[in-house]
């Protein structure tokens, strides 16, 4: 809680310290000194900042995030939609990252020091080194432009838009009884999610591998093997379960980072998410959107870490709260 208050105060102040005036940006090339002053009065920006901050907090407590300075519409209308868009992408990307990353990590540990291990680690290195925007643009070039098997932009087929209910389009398309839309949404998710997953996948793979190697060297693992248990059981039940805690920490941090704005991926694929929402707001000096956006991202990060802490207890009976 204090973290959140601190974040809201700091973002409120920082944003106002940046040179540049929202009224100027709104009015553009038609701005005159008079019109800027008038607009500032109208937007409530001429009041002393402690009063502005107080009004803002008051609103948040009541669930009212206020109005966007540049669009004059309630922020709460749009911010959830954008958040859901990024969340859907981030979760899908994390799913890919976890499945691929953990598999690679486990296999590498199991076949430690073989050609397989080396190969998997090279793949992981590539994942963390290749710039996301390069991967994204290349992906579009090959799969969208040249092979024409995947779409290049957006969350959905523009000609057959999804009826947003939860704003998670995979769910919404099923709710509307449109399996064709489900497939289309899935296709739109695939490329950006794979691109976004490249770094987390690599990090998770390496962490899983090293954690597994540590665990596999422990005595109880030798005991399990000498008991004659099958390879698979040894690795999964005894090995991974115990190696998983540090991996879970990594996963939690990665989700937080992705939610914070997968902005490069969102820009390349025209994904209407919170990353581009915040970026546009910063360009336009839309103070209210920036403050609220940062606060929300911080909130998400806090919640995810809380969830991770709770999961520790579920996985490791030694951990109690």
């Amino acid at each position: 809680m204090p973290v959140l208050i601190g974040v809201s105060l700091i973002s409120f102040l920082l944003v106002r310290l940046i040179p540049g005036d929202p009224a100027q940006v709104i009015l553009g090339e038609l701005a005159t000194e008079d019109s800027i002053a008038q607009l500032n009065r109208q937007l409530g920006l001429d009041q002393p900042w402690p009063i502005q901050y107080f009004n803002y907090l008051l609103g948040i407590v009541q669930g009212d995030f206020g109005l966007s300075l540049t669009q004059n519409t309630p922020i709460s209308d749009e911010i959830w939609i954008r958040f859901a868009a990024t969340a859907e992408l981030a979760l899908f990307a994390m799913l890919i990252a976890m499945v691929v990353g953990i598999t690679l990590g486990v296999l590498s540990a199991r076949f430690h020091n073989t050609w397989f291990d080396q190969l998997m680690m090279i793949i992981a290195l590539a994942g963390v080194s290749i710039p996301v925007f390069w991967l994204g643009v290349m992906g579009k070039l090959v799969f969208a432009l040249q092979l024409n098997v995947l779409p290049s932009i957006g969350r959905e087929n523009i000609r057959e838009p999804v009826d947003p209910i939860t704003n998670f389009y995979l769910i919404d398309s099923l709710l509307a009884g449109r399996p064709d839309q489900f497939v289309s949404v899935f296709e739109h998710l695939l490329l950006p999610a794979i691109v976004l997953s490249s770094i987390p996948m690599a990090v998770i793979a390496r962490m899983t591998r090293s954690s597994m190697l540590e665990v596999m060297g422990l005595d109880y693992m030798r005991t399990a093997k000498s008991k004659g248990l099958r390879d698979f059981t040894i690795i999964m039940r005894h090995g991974l379960r115990n190696a998983f805690v540090p991996v879970l920490t990594i996963i939690g941090l990665q989700v937080g980072t992705l939610l914070g704005g997968a902005i490069l991926t969102e820009t390349i694929f025209g994904w209407p998410g919170i990353g581009t929402y915040l970026y546009d707001a910063i360009q336009a000096r839309d103070y209210t959107v920036i403050q609220t956006g940062i606060l929300l991202v911080a909130l998400a990060f806090v919640l995810i870490n809380l969830l991770v802490d709770l999961l520790y207890a579920a996985i490791d009976p030694r951990i109690k709260y």
Binding site: P19, G20, D21, Q24, V25, I26, L27, G28, E29, L30, A31, T32, E33, S35, Q38, L39, R41, Q42, Q71, N72, T73, E78, I81, R82, T103, L107, R110, F111, T114, F116, K140, A144, L145, N148, V149, L150, P151, S152, I153, G154, N157, I158, R159, E160, P161, V183, S184, F186, E187, D231, T267, I268, F269, G270, P272, T276, D280, Q283, A284, R285
Partner: protein, 530 residues
């Protein structure tokens, strides 16, 4: 034993991966070949930025006008006849008359026209809309920009409904080009009922060819056909979806894959790769991109130095490299598509030697050092300011001038230039109402100093000439005054005029009837797929 396990596990993973991708790759996604009935009645139009409002009166953004101009209509329309931008009677006013002294205008309105909510369009509706803006206090930025101020500060003293289908406007000072102002989309007539209900910015209601359906912010706006549109046989399309794709290369890619049908603000460098398979259209220029020199900062207070700068810059090379050869080289502050263009003005030729000798005459035979400001964003008159600045920097180097390139993000850039902090800077402008005054007054009149008069120029003689233009009812008088103004601006070498750009759009080849206007939007009522 080990190898068998590896093979088994890898095989399982590979199978999973393949089946997943087979599920996904169901052939050509999103193309207009998908599904019956989609694609040929619906136009997907990709643009660079979203609207900022739905009610165009609240906005100065060309993107807002692009969408809203299809839902609400103005009394007067712009049209381009091939050589000049003119106002036409194809709008809500079928004719108009001006008093001899240019202070009173009467407009005859089209009859039998309804708003999309069923209420009638009549003179009262026009009066209602104008009174709304006149009584404003900051929320309608185009009103004071065109008419001088709100309420009594502005030039419009009265708006009266003479009868059900005629409106008269009474002006304090004569304005020969008053109808041009009325063609600006911000002065389109919305339904008074919707304005009263306070919903006009959530669900705009007008008389236009298309009705508003929905807005997904920063994603898309959907319009559908107005079945009761007053122009018979129009519109031809059933639906238009305006999709936001900010990155220009992503926009072009979406056109190439068939995900969209029409894109605006094409990056000149992308034109080459699509012009064989797609229809590329160019807007006639209504803008200017220039290198401004702040005349209050040495050495740009010396006219010889400014003239030397003009001789040092090779505009041809700029156009070739960064505008795909498609922009016009600028000699005057506005292009020949606008009234009063002075074609007698002799451009400063690209002549580095002449530049050097002028600099020597001014006392700078060793050259000098300066800051050259460039914007980091793409503007319609300058898609790539940074690169243009680099080329100019090199050209200035040839004559002994050392230019350092300076940049700030767009909002800060404009603010600092207006504050007079830049030695020389790249900027530009579009005339919003199609008139020469729309550029000249903003850039060179002393009362705009500190605002849009970026170079901080103060010349009472020029002020006087520009003031007279507005009141000159006779077009010949106006042209004479404008030509004089352009000659002064040229002789004083206030700018290095660079280009009049022709922003490009591209569409699939079977889309016809898109009429790109110099003002930055297009009449989509006439568009259809062959």
């Amino acid at each position: 034993m080990k190898t068998k396990s590896i093979v088994k596990i890898t095989a399982v993973c590979a199978a999973m991966g393949l089946s997943l991708s087979a599920c996904a790759t169901s052939g050509d996604p999103d193309g207009s070949t998908n599904g019956e009935g989609s694609g040929k009645d619906t136009l997907i139009y990709a643009r660079a930025a979203d609207s900022d409002y739905l009610d165009p009166a609240l906005s100065t953004s060309g993107e807002t006008a692009r969408v809203s101009g299809n839902v609400v209509e103005t009394l007067v329309n712009f049209d381009f006849d091939g050589s000049e931008l003119k106002v036409t009677d194809t709008g809500l006013a079928k004719s108009w008359e001006a008093s001899d002294d240019g202070t009173a205008y009467t407009f005859e309105l089209q009859q039998g026209v309804d708003f999309q909510d069923g209420t009638p369009f009549d003179a009262e509706a026009v009066v209602y809309n104008f009174e709304r803006w006149k009584k404003g206090s900051g929320e309608f930025p185009f009103y004071p920009a065109e008419f001088g101020g709100y309420g009594d500060d502005g030039n419009i003293t009265e708006i009266n409904a003479v009868d059900e289908h005629s409106v008269e406007f009474l002006l304090e000072e004569p304005d020969a080009l008053f109808p041009n102002s009325l063609a600006v989309t911000s002065f389109a007539i919305s339904s008074p009922k919707a304005i009263e209900a306070g919903t006009n910015n959530d669900h705009p209601v007008g008389t236009g060819a298309f009705e508003f359906v929905n807005w997904k912010p920063n994603d898309s706006i959907t319009l559908k056909k107005n079945e009761n549109y007053w122009k018979d046989g129009y519109p031809k399309l059933d639906q238009i979806v305006f999709k936001v794709i900010t990155d220009p290369s992503a926009r072009v890619t979406a056109l190439s894959t068939g995900e969209v049908d029409l894109v605006s603000d094409l990056n000149p460098v992308d034109i080459g790769q699509i012009e064989d398979d797609f229809n590329v259209m160019y807007r006639p220029p209504l803008n200017v991109g220039f290198l401004g020199m702040t005349v209050t900062r040495a050495p740009f207070d010396n006219v010889k130095v400014r003239q030397a700068m003009n001789h040092a810059v090779d505009q041809q090379a700029l156009v070739k490299s960064f505008f795909y050869g498609k922009a016009e080289i600028a000699t005057n502050p506005y292009p020949s598509t606008m009234e009063g263009y002075n074609d007698q003005v002799q451009p400063y030729a690209y002549d580095p030697d002449k530049a050097k000798s002028l600099l020597a005459e001014a006392g700078f035979d060793k050259g000098f050092e300066m800051d050259l400001w460039a914007m980091p964003v793409s503007r319609p008159y300058m898609p790539n300011g940074q690169k243009v600045a680099e080329m100019i920097q090199a050209q200035l180097g040839e004559v002994g001038i050392k230019a350092n390139i300076v940049s700030y993000d767009w909002a800060t850039y404009v603010e600092k230039v207006e504050a007079g902090e830049a030695d020389a800077f790249l900027l530009g402008g579009t005339s919003s109402n199609g008139t020469a005054s729309g550029i000249l007054d903003f850039q060179f009149k002393s009362n705009a100093l500190g605002d849009s008069n970026y170079i901080r120029y103060k010349n009472p003689k020029l002020d006087d000439i520009l003031n007279q233009v507005q009141g000159a009812v006779d077009p010949d008088d106006r042209v004479a005054l404008l030509e004089q103004a352009q000659q002064i601006i040229h002789d004083e070498a206030l700018w290095v005029p660079l280009v009049h750009s022709t922003p490009a759009l591209a569409s699939v080849e079977d889309l016809v009837g898109v009429n790109p206007l110099p003002t930055g939007s297009e009449h989509l009522a006439t568009a259809y797929f062959e």
